[in-house]
């Protein structure tokens, strides 16, 4: 039971790590779906360069 109910700094670190990973996944979804491809700067070459 205690391995899932951490105390002190271990609890704090766990929350940071778990929330961090979830945010990372959300950020990936945002990059994939919510950002338009044309907004990418520095490119302009599609196909066989």
């Amino acid at each position: 039971m205690e391995i899932y109910y951490l105390q002190g700094w271990a609890l704090f670190a766990e929350k940071i790590l778990q929330v961090g990973m979830l945010l990372f996944i959300i950020w990936n979804v945002k990059l994939l779906i919510l950002e338009k491809n044309t907004s990418t700067k520095g490119e302009g070459v599609n196909g066989n360069e």
Partner: protein, 525 residues
Amino acid sequence: MTSKYVDRGNIIKVRSSRKPKVFTPIFIISASITAFFSIFSLVNPVALAKVMTFIQTIFATQYGWMAMLIPILCMGFLVAIGVSKYGKIVIGGQDAKPDYNIFSWLAMLFTSSIGIGIIYFGVNEPLYAYYLSPSSTEAPNQMVAAREAMGTALYHWGISVWAIFSVAGLIMAYFVSKHKIRYLPGDVIEKSFGNRKWVPLTKNIMNVLAVVCSAMTIAATIGLGSVQISTGINQVGNLNASLTGILPYIVLFILLSVCIFAATTKKAGKGMQVLGDWNVYLAIAILIFGMLFGPTRYIINQAVQLTGTYIAQLIPRNFDMFLFSNDLTYSTTWDVANNMWWISWTPFMGVFIASISKGRTVRQFAFATMTIPVLFMLLWHSTFGGIALLDAVLGTGDIAKNAMESPEVTFFAILATMPWSKLTFIATIILLIMFISTTVTSAALSLARMTDYEGKEASRVRSSVWVILMGIIALTGIFATTLGGNDALNAVKSLATTLSYPYIFFFIIMMTGFIKQLMKDKPQV
């Protein structure tokens, strides 16, 4: 010396110096980090193992769920892209012809990656699963325990592994052939996400980490292989104690010399193809020998049953975290660690697969890699793993004892129960030497290519330096192993696995970048 020219709006830097630069910044940085770990592991392997195990435990405990999801994510991704219209995309352009036939292509994929492990872990895995996995230890009876053990062993070496490799290879191959990027995983990010603020730093860290991670992974493999070859030679020759002690070093020295020679010859690609083909022929010959001279009817029964077990577990096993079992750490110490070990192979495998896959379609990537090598593994596990498990469950337990005490002996112990064992020992030693040579040579070539200024050329000097650096780390492992136990080699392995945890983030973002790039390119197929 560099100059610039403008091509369709893009400013491209071109190196104009006559001689290609050998000591590039990425080579110096990544080689220095690898050398630091080499020296650290030589001076104080115990401290290194402690630090790495601590970091690994934190990551495995916290991000185990993500490591479990990666293979299923890759499998779903490959199936989706394989059946879609993008499945028809040909790497290198629609008219590109393959450099290697399908057998050689798959043979090179197999021998440069998991090949070496089939002799060491291929026989021990069912035993480890039988004695340690909650699905076996907490099974209601012996029949279920044994069935689950075989299923677990194939899960660790089956479709999930190949799905990870295949995705890494496909992404690199697509970007290298279509967008002419360098053979560097970080460049995929740069191409997909352009000039966003976070891209340059992410790209550079990713490239250095990819190189260091690959070097460590291969070093651990060389170490394990050298010890096993020595064990084989010892079994054949009954050597005296003084010679037994130095044998692993002699084996390592000869292996490294062969690899340096192979990596620096001009016909490396052709040589790798021939070696890869013969490697697989020999492995198939040993497999057929084992099936014929082992308990044939049991092996065929085992293959049939394992097929059913594997199909039933193919999806659910990837989600099994063993919550509420008696061993709550099993998932992190075995399933998660296994997935992370294979993810640590992806930077090198991605580059290597990309370099040999011209003319292959995305559909072949998706389906050939996830089926043909897995069928071979199913038969291999049913034969050699199956015999070991049979001995553990219904036999004397003599073979099974090796798995816990000296796992490098298990395969030879099985061959000893069959006729002409001296001959098959020698064949196994040759197989091991060929497996290690192909793995190390392809790794050295990939690393030299990854650390090239333009990410294309595998310079001889860089290839040799990488072989030597990987050799030093392997040497440390062997040195400590001969003093006692497999802990030191496991420390090198744990170092590679630990370094692959940050790589998990890069792997995910690489997949995101690939999907984004496909949507942007809308390739005509």
